[in-house]
């Protein structure tokens, strides 16, 4: 059982869930949530915005376009389940973006937006994906770097 006291405290209700989990969260990078943000890079490395854009498009990775419109005109279909992300860098800091990707439910427990860097506390995950995050820590960093370019 990996201890992530800060995160657990922030989510509250997931305490009960995480008790019964296998040690599947092992291997996840630890992070600290402060002021609704995760200030530090998950990997200690800078993100690559060019790859971040690719990940945002990729249906098996970020697939952000499923729900958001983004300034990527070369892609035909953009969703409108979530807000348009054009110019979004004006509203958020890097750390705020990072928390929104890692686990937006910390900010809004009702949101439909998936937690992209969370591996436990889910219900009936397909075997293939059980104990895994949707994207890697570096993927998160790359997408954050891309979001920061959306000025």
């Amino acid at each position: 059982m990996v201890k992530r006291p800060l995160v657990v405290a922030a989510i509250g209700i997931s305490i009960a869930l995480s008790l019964s989990l296998p040690a599947s969260a092992a291997g996840l990078v630890k992070y600290q949530i402060k002021n609704n943000a995760i200030a530090a890079s998950l990997t200690g490395k800078a993100g690559d915005p060019v790859n971040g854009k690719k990940l945002a498009i990729n249906r098996k990775k970020g697939n952000c376009l499923a729900c958001h419109s983004m300034p990527i005109p070369e892609q035909a279909f953009h969703g409108n389940v979530g807000p348009d992300l054009k110019g979004i860098a004006a509203s958020y800091s890097e750390g705020e973006f990072r928390l929104r990707l890692v686990d937006p439910k910390v900010l809004n427990s009702e949101t439909i937006m998936p937690a992209f860097y969370k591996a436990a506390g889910f219900n009936r995950v397909m075997k293939k994906f059980a104990g895994k995050t949707i994207i890697s820590a570096q993927d998160v960093e790359d997408i954050v770097a891309y979001l920061m370019t959306l000025k």
Binding site: R59, N63, L65, A66, C67, A76, F77, H78, G79, N80, V81, K105, I112, P114, A115, F122, N123, R124, V125, M126, K127, K128, F129, K132, I134
Partner: protein, 266 residues
């Protein structure tokens, strides 16, 4: 044509009433009851046109197959469905609108597929059809087609209530790695785009539905499994109690909508 005209009026109304209420811009006719709309109204015009024309609707082939099976004696008793139920147009007129139903002998809900197999094994002493087999899709498509135009009207009170509650809980429960519930997409986001897909209300009134993607009709349980897999959740089995209860709840969500089997969707 009429819809276009009304849509144009709606836009005009919106520009005139700069503040306050915006009038509903579209008239969905029989495909809307109160705030509930059939998936038909979310489908592309070309897809609607395929459904509307019995000669173009490819699922009518399955209806034809079902009509043959209806008359065909099978099993040790040497009877066909028609031996007991005679003209399906009369005897099955409400069936498609009223299933799943509570079966007192089983002490649980039973959907149309299961009822058909009960008739086969008990009354005909014939082998049950496999879920999603050509025979079962033919028979269920044929039977529900007899109920076309009837208002979806599953019973949900009395002995059905506990099963209804379970279906409702399933509907609202998040699952899978994407951690979404049916309600997240079909309750809260109908009318919104998920990339190239317009999210509908996830109504069941057109099932078995011919999906262009499948190139054949599929049961509502096949659709549930697809939606579960899309959010990376472990699907339940065909005919599982969980899905039959969910089927009941989904049918209730569409109460009043006309049965429109076989529907055509993307």
């Amino acid at each position: 044509m009429r819809n276009l005209y009304i849509a144009a009026l709606g836009v005009a109304a919106m520009t005139v009433t700069s503040i306050g209420t915006v009038f509903a811009a579209e008239d969905y006719g029989k495909y809307q009851v109160e705030d509930r709309r059939s998936g038909y109204t979310y489908a592309a015009k070309e897809t609607q046109a395929i459904q509307d024309d019995n000669f173009e609707n490819p699922a009518m082939l399955w209806v034809d197959d079902g009509s043959v099976l209806w008359e065909q004696a099978e099993g040790e008793v040497g009877k066909a469905c028609a031996s007991c139920h005679e003209d399906a147009a009369d005897s099955m007129k409400m069936t498609g609108a009223e299933y799943p139903k509570h079966n007192p002998k089983l002490g649980k809900m039973q959907n149309l597929e299961q009822r058909i197999n009960q008739c086969r094994t008990e009354n005909m002493k014939a082998k049950p059809f496999k879920y999603e087999s050509a025979e079962m899709l033919g028979m269920t498509t044929f039977v529900r087609h007899q109920s076309n135009g009837q208002a979806m009207s599953v019973k949900v009170d009395g002995e059905v209530a506990p099963f209804f509650k379970k279906g409702e809980a399933f509907y609202n429960q998040r699952r899978g790695q994407l951690d979404m519930s049916c309600k997240n997409c079909h309750g809260d986001n109908s009318g919104n785009m998920a990339r190239a897909n317009m999210l509908s209300e996830g109504q069941s009134n057109g099932f078995p539905t011919y999906r262009l993607k499948w190139q054949k009709p599929g049961s509502i349980h096949r659709r549930f499994r697809g939606c579960n897999k899309n959010i990376r959740a472990k699907p339940f089995g065909y005919g599982s109690e969980e899905y039959v209860n969910l089927e009941l709840y989904v049918a209730w969500r569409g109460r009043g909508l006309p049965v429109e089997t076989p529907a055509v969707r993307n």
